[in-house]
Subunit: 350 residues, 4 copies
């Protein structure tokens, strides 16, 4: 194969971003895009980019023999059936995070892809960011010794709308899941147990859905290292994305990215502009890089850099954190899966 | 009174520092210093500073009618009897932290001072530091809105010796107690519950005494705000003292103090010298300021800036954190006092 | 016109960069590329990018009626004849800096473009950089009051090769010319006089050509403001691009851009990675933006953001600085043009 | 000698600062203070500090056999006669900068001190500052290779009053003289030639006295290195004191000192408090250190760290800069002395 021909499933914001990023690559091509709400606007958008097929039915993508890989960018509750369907069609899969809200189903989806040997990459884009990458390198190369503490700050500039919150799966599954993945990525160890505190301090609407908008989760890793993640749905100064890994030989910490380096001295203060405000501008390059890597791994038949297992583990941490908040005690990851099974029994899902 | 005449009890490192700092003040005088191990060296040291009385018996200080205030700088297990004795003698009291390892006794000591109306200030020197003060001002003045998250990093450059560790009372009571006080100082709210994770990652000697050298404690405050403190006994790059308060209107964060601002660009990197390495150089001014305030409060008959209650609350947080680590679950401060009473029963102390 | 059809003249590094940048734009197209050394490699490169015409003769570009604008990216001594030729052919012109080494000829070229009404933009890419732009905005909006001092640091990571140095025109015309333009761009005033100091400290090869590798030039602006530029051909830590404008109401300063924000604390120091090392990565976005602006100005028939006059003035400053170094005294810009005329007489050029 | 007994001449702001700093030292004592305007206020101030003698006549200090060193803190025009008088009396001398406004007289004063072998230290306090010291160490230890460029920024928060300006000797002798000394201190080379630009941009009052309030001076050092100093009488954001030394192996740069490290993120910007505002708080420790060094050098009979020659050279640079501004051309230091002699002839001083 000299070129990966791609179908995009889901033409929302993130679907379009992936499409645009693929379009830049010399070794990939967007053949089709599907969305239940595909309309003239989408057709125009696609035509301007040389995307030949626009359809309302994802089956048109799945059945197209020219397409060898799909990007699943549709709502979370459709991810698992689409992964299974794509696997059945022998197509490589890039799936947005989380794979699902239901850890058992996530497992099934991963197994479906493994069974037929297609690649499955999960959209933890931050792993490809220049800052996080550098911290990872510093840790992996032993430059700060053994990791003792992993600290992650992740705050959004503004909370999402009510409809989004309703179906988001909660702060741990929707927002902190990126940080759970980062905790594993940076520490080089698996989490064994987590403890969560959460509050509704930004907007009472979160309480309506049993959700919180402010949370601190601590983590005990298998190797004895400890971690902490703090999330807020609203940082008035913009998108706040920092990490620190502290180890026996020193520490590595990243601060935010800024639109410029200008420092302004006045009679009042010394100030600079706020950090980059939104995840799309902050992680623009990371989104491109995850796509580049996915395509390259297909063409060179290598393991993808973010596996289904990575997606599964982060979901397990999110689930454990959620239960910890509900139960008011630390929860082991080993327990978390059991909870789900019980829930299935209770809710009659199995 | 135009001048406060002072007796120093305990001539170790911190006792001498307080003595030197008092000696700078125009409105205070060091009349006597006592230490069970007072010897010719101490007599020489005192003579060079015009301190007239050097004694092995603290009773010589307590019985001296010229002395109106004492600095209790002796080992922790002597604090409570000395506070009671000083109170009985009608002397104002500055006591190093913690007041005691036993919360019930701490309560008794505070009540003893209150009963006779002498002032009791606890040695939480960091409250007087230029950086922490500035964050407190920013929070109190509403410049960052309501506090949502309080994050404190506190790491020592190197662990203490084995003998120190043995009698230290553990990381929460010995080291994190400063951070517990800071959490209250900065958040403006009381802690309701804490959860602790701890590990032995720096030196196995800590495990010998049932202690840890690395810890993360999370806090749920009464007003819904959340907090987190991380401690390590060994940061190879020096003394690490940072806080961040994040609120509805923004955040205020302090970084470390450095010996100079020089930035060195070479073919390898851009670097600067390490932060100030030791608490004595880092908090030099804060030690002076706490003394200035104590003296001023006596002379002007004002409330001291760090009360016995402040000492008590920080000890309660330390106790709750210790129990949390032992029990593997969050512990309410309200529970912590109960634990102690039960322990007393069990251990036959009452 | 809905699209600007472009011919690139000169297929060296910078010619290819401009071609690639134009290729990203929806409203422009690269129709042809010419280079006296055009070969199969270039033909392959062009074919892969859909550039239909590759030729050794720039006349093929000039005579092509489909082409409405040219990018002149050939050696400096060809700029003036090519500008005149393009003007005669009615094509808009983007010309790399400097327009020429001979200020009188530069004037002629500008007049040739003006006479026929084609646009002429000069390649001062730094004007489009996010950092410099922000300083300009701060100055223009009055946020730092009236400008009193303009300070520019500009250092290369490593000196060019001997052949390059020989024909470079010297440090003022080749390297500091960007900074002369920046001085005008940021101060909002014209230079009246300059004074130059220069030394050969990096490599004796510069002395062979009567050139220097280290220079400081000070500037007296028409409005009384003062400026200083320092250049070095070799900063071992990388590309160093900083400015500060100090005014009656404060100052605005920019520091370098870095590949990441990671700060590494070890037992030795606190360090970070070196700044972005090379002008192509540092000014990548600025190169794109200057192209975007040029195309937009053609399509909307607006004045270009960097005019021929801007190129002329920067050359005049470079010329004055060169003479100042030769004569050992400050040189007025008004004098500089006279020097050239005398030189013409002496060298029999006229 | 176990203790240096000191007489302070001149009881203005700086005289009192030196007195207070000497009073802290265990190996020095302030015996007397003289000032033509000595009054009850001064007597009270002295009494509170245990200074026994207060007099209106400096001869009382000069004639006192108990006094072995004097601090000359009187107006500049009295420095030379007082140095000669103190030398004649065999007393060591600490003299505030500049020694005089007249380079020939400065020479005579230095020679007078040398002739009798008393020490003469000049008050270039910045040499003792933690930041400048660190840059000096980095340069001297070869960590940045050979120095190529020395850049000094020095700006005051607000201009002095009219009376001060009238008798200040002008910006170069009054303000930039510190920076001239720093240029020599940091470069490790002597200046050969300087060129000055100056403007009146802050306050027209400077023009009344033939002075400027904004200046940039460039320097050519004997070893080929180049330097630049910029001064402004008014930086609204406070006292601005920065240097950078750039060399073959890298660069060392210092930024300002701040009252705290707090960084405040809000919806508007990221800001911090302004730098330390005034030279007394900024250089508090440096003033103490220069005194410590002076006393130690007397007691241990070592060369003082800032000699009369250092004072002379800085004055010569100031003089050359002043002439450069007047003449509109660079001026060699070798010329500067000649100018003075001519001026003497012209003005009939000789």
């Amino acid at each position: 194969m000299d070129k990966v021909r791609i179908g995009i499933i889901g033409a929302g914001r993130i679907g379009k971003i992936h499409a645009e990023n693929v379009l830049r690559l010399p070794n990939a091509e967007v053949v089709a895009i599907s969305d239940p709400f595909a309309d003239d606007n989408l057709r125009e958008w696609a035509a301007a980019r040389g995307i030949g097929i626009v359809t309302q039915d994802s089956e048109d993508v799945m059945n197209n023999p020219a397409i060898s890989a799909v990007f699943i960018c549709s709502p979370t509750d459709t991810h698992v059936p689409l992964i299974k369907r794509a696997a059945a069609a022998g197509k490589h899969i890039f799936c947005e995070k989380p794979i699902s809200m239901d850890i058992a189903q996530t497992k099934e989806a991963i197994e479906a892809a493994e069974a037929v040997g297609v690649k499955l990459q999960v959209g933890f884009n931050r792993r490809f960011d220049h800052n996080f990458q550098r911290v990872r390198e510093l840790v992996q190369s032993g430059q700060i010794g053994d990791a003792h503490l992993v600290k992650i700050t992740s705050r959004d500039p503004a909370p999402p709308g009510k409809e989004y919150i309703r179906s988001s799966g909660g702060i741990f599954m929707d927002m902190m899941i990126h940080d759970f993945d980062m905790a594993r990525f940076l520490s080089g160890s698996e989490a064994e147990e987590v403890h969560a505190y959460g509050s509704v301090l930004v907007d009472p609407v979160f309480a309506e859905f049993g959700d919180v908008d402010t949370a601190i989760v601590t983590i005990r890793f298998a190797n004895g290292a400890l971690g902490v993640i703090d999330n807020s749905r609203k940082a008035v100064y913009g998108y706040d994305q920092r990490v620190e890994v502290f180890g026996s030989g020193g520490s590595a910490a990243i601060s935010n990215d800024y639109p410029n380096t200008a420092e302004i001295h006045t009679a009042e203060s010394v100030r600079r502009d706020k950090p980059l405000h939104f995840f799309l501008e902050r992680y623009n390059d990371a989104y491109i890089q995850e796509t580049v890597q996915f395509i390259t791994c297909i063409l060179e038949n290598r393991d993808v850099p973010v596996s289904g297992y990575d997606g599964y583990q982060a979901e397990l941490m999110a689930l454990a954190a959620k239960r910890s908040l509900q139960l008011g005690r630390p929860v082991k990851l080993a327990e978390a899966y059991e909870f789900t099974k019980q829930a299935h029994v209770k809710e009659g899902i199995q």
